[in-house]
Amino acid sequence: MTNTWKTMALVIPLALVAACTDAAKAPAEAAMAAAGTAVDSLKGEATKWAPEAVKGVEASYASAKDLVAKQDYKGALAAAGEIPAKAKEALAKAAANKDALVKAWNDAGGSITKMVDAAKSRIDVLMQSKKLPAGMDKATLAKAQTDLSAIQSGLAGAVDQFKAGDTSGAMAKLSALKAQGMELLKSLGMQ
């Protein structure tokens, strides 16, 4: 083999690889740009309501970036191409999680409000009673009033907490308030 043929035997495969690599570069860059936009769309609400799903998308994007850095444009194109769909799934999951939590919040808050109304109604009547029913004395009734006030102010605090964005803290507070409310109803002979 002459030197010319030897050189060609080495250069041609490299040129073909380079040509293929360059052919995938532009589509990969376009896919990366689309993926970047999709990842940006997850900032804010989605991060708050579906953090794990968002982390997954961000990890996929980081992997695609690594492939670009290694000039594996074909691999980057494949990886980046999946990201917009994953981001869409994360957004849908975030919306579903948000809806579920708002519903749970409304249900729990509504339930405690009804509990408070029932207890308040009974306390109002008992305050007018000349003699308290069996098993109840003035101290019990006074404590019930105090407990009712505490639950009412606790509920207002939980609402503020929820509005401020501390949804899990607010939900935990509602659970505690519901337990207190059940004890209150029990002390009033309503459970």
Binding site: K114, M115, A118, A119, V125, S129, K130, K131, L132, P133
Partner: protein
């Protein structure tokens, strides 16, 4: 049966033989004179506070 305002925390009492609104009020409030509270809370069923029937389910406010 339930009307607006009734919920899982509404307390109910089923009228038994020999009971009057006064006796029911005494049981829940300690004071028979508060029977009117029960009467008012059940106006859709009780027309006359002296006439209640066994088996009626009354809400106790």
């Amino acid at each position: 049966m339930a009307e607006t305002g009734d919920n899982e925390f509404t307390q109910w009492h089923t009228v038994a033989k020999g009971e009057t609104l006064g006796k029911i009020a005494e049981r829940y409030y300690g004071d028979p004179s508060l029977y009117k509270k029960i009467f008012e809370a059940n106006r859709e069923r009780i027309k006359d506070p002296n006439l209640i029937q066994i088996g009626w389910k009354l809400r106790i406010p």
